[in-house]
């Protein structure tokens, strides 16, 4: 948090080192969230790219309320939602990611086989977007329900319901139950 405040101050004063450091610090979190939401590595890269370009363009007016990581994750979630809407809410398949399953972090690989990971990702892709977004923002992005509610401008109760339904859906998909 202290580092982020110092980095932001340097960034606002035009420091390219500070910008690079912010990118290095949060790139994996942002890219991972975008990829989990969109299930498309190219689209995820585009989202992270556009978030950082906007971040740079807004440097002068930028006022941080909350954590920098939270702000950037929110930007990724918002932009991902826009991309999904642009696709006219068509169901998201696994078409672009399978073999391109990229450089998963080593400790994770030891905990879950490639097949299990594939099943998990496939199941997540089948969860309705609103529920998936809440599940991923809460579990992967570590946002509280209140923060997600503020981000989406909807009541906390709705977010909690979406989370519960999302988990239920995921569990049923992973247990091989018939989709309703």
């Amino acid at each position: 948090m202290i580092e982020d405040k110092i980095l932001l101050w340097k960034f606002k004063h035009g420091s390219s080192d500070a910008l690079s450091r912010i990118y290095e610090k949060y790139k994996s979190d942002l890219f991972s969230l975008a990829n989990s939401l969109l299930h498309d590595l190219n689209a995820a890269e585009d989202v992270v790219h556009d978030v950082f370009v906007s971040f740079v363009k807004s440097a002068d007016e930028f006022q941080l309320t909350g954590s920098l990581k939270g702000y950037l994750l929110t930007c990724v979630a918002n932009l991902s939602r826009d991309r999904i809407r642009a696709r006219k809410r068509s169901p998201i398949g696994m078409s672009k990611t399978d073999m391109a399953i990229p450089d998963y972090k080593i400790p994770s690989q030891a905990l879950i086989s490639a097949e299990e990971l594939h099943r998990l990702r496939e199941a997540i892709a089948k969860v309705p977007y609103e529920q998936r977004e809440v599940v991923l923002l809460h579990l992967q992005g570590r946002r509280t329900f209140r923060q997600i509610a503020e981000l989406q401008g909807i009541p906390v109760g709705t977010i909690q319901s979406r989370y519960r339904y999302g988990l239920k859906k995921l569990r049923s998909l992973l247990n091989g139950e018939i989709e309703k």
């Binding site: 991972s32 950082f52 972090k105």
Partner: protein
């Protein structure tokens, strides 16, 4: 229980969905964002600012204020250059001392961080740093958990996960070297912090005795809410204690403390490089094998090639002898493996899956046996043919040294 039964924990605590960005992606995004940043800087300098400046400077109030600022800045510069008039510490000398110190050791600890991955508030880090070497030991609840060591001269990196008894020993890429260099400019480095404090508006603090050492300090504030206090020993002219604090929007106070400094120490690689305990396990190709691979210290055991239609998968299986006596075999893509797009991989992987099932069910049609020289050695290859359900021909070959 299947691992995915516990998917909430896997996603939240074990980050199974986390992926690393590629070097190419990093380059693309950083190139574009840094370019935008540069362009914005140029635009400001060339266009907007002078207009605004002219408008602002037309105001008589602004003129008075500007004059006052000039005086304040002048006093500030004097404060940096000649603080000896008020105290025993000359800050310009402190900056020179710190810069000239060949090596420094310090402890970093803090409170208030809510990042569950952080070692704070129960942990601390001890860092040894010279121009070429950095070693950081991470402690939690009095136990050492991680050791991270970089040597920029040899471009070598060692990571020890003491809690897991695992290690990585590998060569550093150019990007990693750059990152390690950039680490020295971070706020957690006392030299960088001193520079930052002196570059900001700051004021002197009254004298204070810290652990029996008479000290003088300055306090500087980063606009946005970070305050730093740096205490210097009057006798030696080196920093003794640095405190940094900030309050976040949730009202939580975050503090960081750098202390237990040892300045002006010679840190040789022999003294600082961590020893890898004999019972620690290497983390595969990511570690020592990568170094051995780059040095060509590996034995080619098998060459396998699968050709499905227009796609080709070729792998080399190597044997590595690790420094701890372990022997590890590892399959790697051959250098002449074609590069495929994600869409192509998707199609190819489905075909490979079917082929693997076919192969498991029984051998294919024997085609021939032939010899080929691979990496300077003669290999004897056996070829088999299979057909996928859609009629696609698969040629599978495996070669062993003669």
């Amino acid at each position: 229980m299947k691992p995915t039964d516990n998917f909430e924990k896997l996603i939240r605590d074990f980050h199974v969905l986390e992926i690393n960005t590629s070097v190419e992606m990093d380059k693309r995004i950083l190139h574009d964002t840094l370019k935008v940043q540069q362009e914005l800087k140029k635009t400001k300098l060339a266009g907007t600012q002078p207009d605004i400046w002219r408008k602002i400077m037309k105001s008589s109030i602004t003129k008075v204020a500007a004059a006052a600022i000039i005086v304040v800045i002048g006093l500030g510069i004097l404060a940096i250059i000649d603080t000896g008039s008020k105290s025993g510490v000359v800050w310009a000398e402190v900056a020179r001392n710190v810069e000239a110190s060949p090596g420094v050791i310090w402890r970093l600890r803090g409170t208030g961080s809510r990042d569950p991955n952080d070692d704070w508030p129960n942990g601390y880090k001890i860092t040894w740093r010279s121009a070429a070497i950095t070693r950081t030991d991470h402690y939690r609840n009095g136990q050492i958990r991680r050791t991270i060591y970089y040597n920029l001269d040899t471009k070598g990196k060692i990571l020890l996960a003491h809690d897991a008894k695992k290690y990585i020993k590998e060569a550093m890429s150019d990007e990693q070297v750059q990152r390690a260099q950039a680490d020295k400019e971070r706020w957690t480095d006392p030299r960088s912090l001193l520079k930052l404090c002196l570059s900001l508006e700051h004021h002197e603090l009254s004298q204070k005795t810290i652990n029996g050492v008479l000290c003088e300090g300055i306090e500087a504030t980063v606009p946005g809410g970070v305050t730093g206090r740096m205490w210097i020993a009057v006798e030696t002219g080196y920093p003794v204690l640095v405190e940094v604090e900030a309050i976040d929007d949730g009202g939580i106070r975050h503090t960081s403390t750098l202390d237990q400094f040892q300045w002006n120490v010679d840190l040789s690689a022999e003294d600082v490089e961590p020893e890898i305990p004999a019972d620690y396990e290497s983390l595969g190709l990511e570690g020592e094998m990568k170094i051995l691979s780059e040095q060509g210290k590996k034995e080619l055991l098998t060459v396998k090639e699968t050709v499905i239609g227009t796609y080709r998968l070729k792998t080399h299986e190597y044997r590595y002898q690790l420094s701890d006596g372990q022997i590890k075999d590892m399959g790697e893509p051959a250098d002449d493996m074609p590069v495929y797009s994600m869409e192509q991989w998707k199609e190819f992987s489905a075909q490979l899956e079917e082929f693997r099932r076919l192969k498991k069910a029984g051998p294919g049609e024997d085609l021939d046996i032939y010899e080929e020289t691979v990496e300077g050695r003669v290999f004897s290859f056996k070829r088999e043919r299979y057909f996928l359900s859609d009629g696609t021909e698969v040629i599978w070959s495996v070669g062993k040294p003669k």
